[in-house]
Structure formats: structure tokens, C-alpha cells
């Protein structure tokens, strides 16, 4: 079975936002990046499916040269090879542009299964995977919590809201967006890191003429909707003051 995993590189969770001068994007120079968390779960799921059913796992990413780092990390965790659609504009591109870029590179590979995270921790459109499925002319399902495969038949557990789930069956090929927590992540071993150095990452140019489907006019730190009273001081003093506030002002204790 030939499995593709689409991975995005995003700023780390600890990153403190700093805006670019034009306030239309972030200042990229001082950002530290990591693998988008839901994508890491998609990769883990792909590796587990390969262990069960054989085949290969190809990791795909559309982004500037920096994203080679997360592709290499995915190879170190066990993926077989990488596809890197490289262009600077992909760092801040919308879901349509990214899906078009990936589709152009992935179409001829005829993957049996394409996995990706349910959304990215940067722009968070929650669209790219589904658009990619449409571009690849394969069915999709989203927010998946379990994947079972028997021959060409796929059985998946989809998460609904409020603690509800649903099983869905369909045939391969298909695209699934994976929910965080579907499995326990593995980390790269030293052996894996060494092996990854010899694995191939194929660079693919971005197709020309891709149109933005939306533009960011401005980015800003959210305006507070509430007045927050920050309580300072040593832990015991802060605790004393907080308890006083909750009893006397908020009257919730």
C-alpha cells in the first residue's frame, strides 16, 4: 500500500507572535518551527498502517526551503521518502494554493491513502486536506479517530461533536484528515536519524499561475474583550488575594 502524509511546518506552541513590518504576516526570521501536531499523528498512523499492511510512506510538504527540516524529521521517524514542493510564497499561502501545489506533485503517484492533520496550528483553515481530495478526485473523510483496512476496504471512525462518533466504510483510494490523539506518537531514534540522511527528498517546483483564494489584509494581537485583573506577588500572597477577590468581588466561593 502506498500512503502519503501531508505535513506542514508551523511555529512552535511556545512562540510569541511578532508581526512583520507590513502587519500582513509574521516576522519569520525569529520563529522556531516544528511539525504541525495533527500532522504528526497522521504520520504515526501511516507508519502503523505500513507496519500492518506493508508498502511505503511518502511525506509531502509544500513550503519554503525551511520545511525540508520537518520532512527530514518524518524520514527519521520512519517514512520512506519525501516530496517537497518548494517556493517562498507557500510559507503564508492559503489552503487552495497549498492543495494545488500538493496535488500537482502527488497526482501521478496514485497513492492508495492520503493522510493529513485535521487543521494547521498556524492559519487553521481546516480546509487543505478536503480540497486536496477533490483535486485528486478521491473521496475524503475528516476528524478521524481510527483507521482499519481490509484488502481495498477502508473502515474509519469519525469524531462528531459532543462525544459522539460514527463508523464509515468506503473503498481505497481515499483521503483522511486525522484528529490529534488517535495514537501514541513515536520519536526518532538515533538509528532513524542516521538512516534518514540517506533517504530521498525530491524537490518539485510550484506550478505557475496559482491564484490566492483569500488575502490577509492585516494581522493583530486580539483586543481583550474582558478586563483581566492580574494578581502579582509571591505564591502565598497571590493566593490570598485571589481567594479574597473570588469571595468578595466575584462572590463565587
Amino acid at each position: 500500500m502506498k500512503i502519503a502524509v501531508c505535513i506542514k511546518q508551523v511555529p512552535t506552541r511556545e512562540w510569541q507572535p511578532r508581526l512583520a513590518e507590513d502587519k500582513k504576516w509574521i516576522q519569520e526570521q525569529d520563529v522556531s518551527y516544528e511539525m504541525n501536531e495533527p500532522d504528526a499523528y497522521a504520520l504515526e498512523e501511516a507508519l502503523r498502517l505500513r507496519e500492518k499492511h506493508g508498502g511505503e510512506v511518502v511525506v509531502c510538504s509544500a513550503g519554503p526551503s525551511r520545511v525540508a527540516k520537518v520532512l527530514r524529521e518524518a524520514l527519521a521517524r520512519g517514512a520512506d521518502r519525501g516530496l517537497h514542493i518548494e517556493a517562498d510564497r507557500l510559507g503564508s499561502a492559503d489552503a487552495f494554493v497549498v492543495a494545488d501545489a500538493l496535488a500537482a506533485a502527488m497526482k501521478e503517484e496514485s497513492f492508495d491513502l492520503v493522510l493529513t492533520g485535521l487543521q494547521s496550528d498556524d492559519q487553521g483553515h481546516a480546509q487543505m486536506g478536503v480540497i486536496l481530495a477533490e483535486k485528486l478526485s478521491i473521496p475524503h473523510s475528516t476528524i478521524i479517530m481510527e483507521v482499519q483496512i481490509k484488502d481495498r476496504e477502508l473502515r474509519i471512525k469519525r469524531e462528531l461533536e459532543g462525544g459522539w462518533f460514527q463508523w464509515i466504510s468506503t473503498d481505497l483510494p481515499a483521503l483522511l484528515t486525522i484528529q490529534s490523539g488517535i495514537n501514541q506518537l513515536r520519536y526518532a531514534t538515533l538509528k532513524g536519524i542516521m538512516a534518514a540522511k540517506k533517504k530521498e527528498i525530491k524537490k518539485v517546483p510550484l506550478p505557475e499561475g496559482l491564484q490566492d483564494s483569500q488575502v490577509i489584509l492585516s494581522l493583530a494581537v486580539p483586543v481583550k474583550s474582558k478586563k483581566t485583573r492580574m494578581i502579582e506577588g509571591a505564591p502565598d500572597k497571590a493566593a490570598e488575594e485571589l481567594v479574597r477577590c473570588l469571595k468578595e468581588e466575584a462572590r463565587v466561593l
Partner: protein
């Protein structure tokens, strides 16, 4: 015209649709608004839309729409959009919308803006505010390209003011659409709930919730101590339940429960948007986090920047004094 796609299950309207109607009202300016209700059987849902707000309710009923598949939904929406020619299609940013709206957008080559929390301007020239970078930033975005523009509104972002239903229901019209059965490859089974909910967090008066900042399962004891002296239920953000440290039924947020207790204490929770939508309606919110820029402080009434491993035991000691 703006077309609102209503979400219903077994003839019961999803409240998120009413919020989307509020957002649409603000967005519409002088544009007329129509509502599409689709499903296997939609019951009385069409009569919930009032003539004072909605020009017409379109109804599409077909067995192939229940249970839901993206393929059947997109087939119906594509045809409705072709005949009705809306310039904006308004949706609620639910899991179901997330499953079919990008497919619809790709098929009709329309832009899709998701998770909208606020609007600027009206009609076709409106711009949309949406969170980015886990809510650390808010972006103002503008759709590009062909109409209709597809837009989905974040749950909880637009408040529904309860008004008496003193006006008459909007006129409704059934629309027949032939759905090609062969185009549906997904075979969904009936939805189910994993576990009987042992606790109903929605009824809790006080909640002490814990996030990544707790670091390991062994540390949960201090959270339970605090909950005990406060008389609160223990809840958690998604990563804690994903790790199996607390059961799924204790999860607050877009994939868990939405709560509005008198007191909500967030310990080591950064406040990703998925968590905030589940708790920002709480009356008094206390946030304790070592990161002064954590988004949780945006919604907090009281905040302490510091190490929860120092502050929580100090709080317990203080509360035990009484």
C-alpha cells in the same frame, strides 16, 4: 442574496445555525437572506425562521441525505447555488461543515473563509476577522475570486438574543433535487456515544480545568485537591484527555463539552481557540499560567502569571484556613 445553510439532526435545529443567522443579519446590509434546510426529513425546522428575518426557506428532503455524506450534501448545494445564485453562502463552523464546505468550495471554485469571529463592512465588500496561530493573532481577511463567497462562523462568536417569536414564519418552498446514488461512495453507520457520561459538566457550578502545564499524570493530585476545597468538578483540555490522563467525558472545548459555570479555574491551559469556545461563557474565569501571553488571559477575569506547582498548593492552603 445570502444563503444560510441550516444544520439539523432528526428534525432538530442546531443552535449554531441561529448564531449564523445573527452574523448573516449583520453581514447582509440590504441583501435578502434565504435559508436552506436539508436532510432526510427536516420536521418543523423550516418554521423556526421568521419572515421578519428571512425571505424564503428552501427545503430539500431526500433519504440519501440521512445519514450525512459530504457527497450528497455537495450535490444538493451545488445545484441550489446554480439556480439561486447567492453571492454569499453562510455556514456554521461545525464538524459537519468542515467535512463538506471545502469540497464544495473546490468544486465550484469559490473561496471559503472559516472560523469567523467578527465582520467589517457588509455585503460583497465585507472583510472577515478570524483567529490564526491558535488564537494568538487575529487576521482580517478578504475573499478573492469567483462568487459565491463561502463563509463559516465560529460557534459562540455571535450571540443570539432570545426574542419572542411574535412574527410569522418565513414562507417555505420544497425543492426537488435528483441525487445520483452512484456518486456516494461513503457508507456511514449510525452515530454512537463511546461512554455513558458519568459526570455532566454542563450542570457543574464550579470547574477546575487542567491543561498541558500539568506535565504528567502523577501531578493531577494537586488539581484534585484544589477542586475538592473549592467544591468543583475536574475538567481538562484536549491534550490531557488524548493522553488518557482523564476520561474523554471531562474534556472541555469544541470536541468536548461546552460549559458555563459560576467559576472556571484554568490551570496550565494556554487557551487554544478550540478550548476557549467551550468555556468562555463561564461567569468568572481564573487563569493560572506561566506564559504571560497565553490566550487564556484574554478571557480571564483574574489572572496569575506563575508556576501552577507553586500557586495551586498555596491556594489550597489559603482555602483550608476557613
Amino acid at each position: 442574496m445570502i444563503l444560510v445553510v441550516a444544520e439539523q439532526k432528526n428534525g432538530k435545529l442546531n443552535r449554531a445555525t441561529l448564531e449564523t443567522l445573527v452574523a448573516t443579519k449583520q453581514l447582509s446590509g440590504d441583501m435578502p437572506v434565504k435559508v436552506l434546510v436539508l436532510g432526510g426529513s427536516v420536521g418543523d425546522v423550516p418554521s423556526e425562521f421568521m419572515a421578519s428575518q428571512v425571505q424564503e426557506v428552501l427545503i430539500v428532503e431526500d433519504k440519501l441525505l440521512d445519514p450525512y455524506t459530504s457527497e450528497a450534501f455537495v450535490a444538493v448545494l451545488q445545484e441550489i447555488i446554480e439556480t439561486e445564485k447567492p453571492s454569499i453562502v453562510a455556514l456554521s463552523h461545525t464538524y459537519q461543515t468542515r467535512d463538506f464546505a471545502p469540497m464544495l468550495a473546490a468544486r465550484i471554485r469559490s473561496p471559503l473563509i472559516t472560523d469567523i469571529t467578527a465582520l467589517k463592512g457588509t455585503g460583497n465588500s465585507a472583510t472577515y476577522m478570524r483567529p490564526m496561530f491558535q488564537g494568538k493573532l487575529v487576521a482580517e481577511v478578504s475573499p478573492q475570486g469567483e462568487k459565491p463567497y463561502l463563509v463559516s462562523f465560529q460557534i459562540g462568536a455571535f450571540r443570539v438574543n432570545e426574542t419572542a417569536n411574535d412574527s410569522t414564519p418565513a414562507p417555505s418552498r420544497k425543492v426537488n433535487i435528483e441525487i445520483n446514488k452512484a456518486s456516494i461512495s461513503m457508507k456511514p453507520e449510525q452515530p454512537f456515544q463511546e461512554a455513558k457520561q458519568a459526570v455532566d459538566l454542563t450542570q457543574a457550578e464550579r470547574i477546575v480545568a487542567v491543561g498541558r502545564g500539568i506535565k504528567s499524570e502523577e501531578n493531577l493530585g494537586i488539581v484534585e485537591n484544589l477542586a475538592k476545597v473549592v467544591g468543583a468538578q475536574v475538567a481538562a483540555s484536549r491534550p490531557i484527555c488524548d493522553s488518557g490522563w482523564l476520561p474523554m467525558e471531562r474534556q472541555i472545548g469544541s470536541s468536548g463539552q461546552t460549559v458555563g459555570p459560576k467559576l472556571y479555574v484554568a490551570l496550565g491551559i494556554s487557551g487554544a481557540i478550540q478550548h476557549l469556545v467551550g468555556m468562555k461563557g463561564s461567569r468568572t474565569i481564573v487563569a493560572i499560567n506561566k506564559d504571560p501571553d497565553a490566550p487564556i488571559f484574554e478571557v480571564a477575569d483574574y489572572g496569575i502569571v506563575g508556576d501552577l506547582f507553586d500557586i495551586v498548593p498555596a491556594l489550597v492552603t489559603e482555602l483550608e484556613k476557613d
